[in-house]
């Protein structure tokens, strides 16, 4: 798993690659929270284009970040999830909390 961070004003974009399971869940959680805690982020975008696998540990990280961002009156989006990852997101109901978009551009346009 690898995560690249890009911040533009109050928007944090996290581009994640690899497999999101219990091995990397804590590491990803801490890396995102560190940035949420230090910068005044109003919009969090998780780019999952290069995520090839996600299980409930990975979903836990997403749900936890959603709660954190919501508590700060911010918004969160997921972009670029491949079919197999998107299925799991739908199955868990996360898509009802966090809108899914095709690309980062689609988020900006909406």
């Amino acid at each position: 798993m690898n995560a690249d961070f890009k911040q533009v004003r109050d928007t944090l974009v996290v581009r994640i690659s690899g497999e999101l399971d219990m091995l990397v869940a804590d590491q990803l959680r801490q890396a995102i929270d560190q940035r949420l805690d230090t910068a005044s982020i109003r919009t969090l975008v998780l780019n999952l284009e290069k995520v090839t696998f996600i299980d409930s540990s990975g979903l836990g990280v997403i749900i936890g970040r959603y709660k954190k961002v919501s508590a700060q009156q911010g918004r969160m989006y997921i972009v670029g999830a491949c079919a197999s990852v998107e299925k799991i997101l739908h199955f868990s109901g996360i898509n009802k909390l966090v809108p899914l978009y095709r690309s980062e551009k689609d988020v900006v346009n909406n």
Binding site: E19, D21, M22, L23, A25, F53, D55, S56, S57, L59, G60, V61, I63, G64, S84, I88, F91, S92
Partner: protein, 165 residues
Amino acid sequence: MLSTIKGRWTSPGLEMRMNVKNYVRFEFSSLPENVSFARSCVGAFASQLECTLEDIEEIKLVVSEAVSNSIIHGYNNDPSQKIEVMVSIFDNGSLEIIVKDFGKGIEDIEQAMQPTYSSNPTHMGLGFTFMRSFMDEMEVLSEPGKGTSVRLQRHFPSQGHQAMA
């Protein structure tokens, strides 16, 4: 969908199984690194069945959930313990996966299976929900202080002579 819950952890006759066409059995340390090893292994083994890539993805997911549960809940993340996985393909084409740990066990299995991920995102309930949803059968055998064994089965009716039925 059949989902049975039993209190006893010891599963009888693990080695003496009828109608097994092929099987793989392996054990590994309860390290988070091995979760992806376990799911990849089972996914590779299952690919000899006539199933779709989507099926393989679902199988990998349920293995990931079962093994993660063993590490997190069975062993409280103690990496020095042992997890066993046994995968069998039966003559009728069904796939059976058994994930077994020797950890603290589950006191209340029904409660553990509740999808209460909203109160605790990493709670095992969501993992059980995936296992139950993506497999045709799920059986959890657990004994406090001894361990937990999760048996998952999925039928692939297009296999072998079943396809003629």
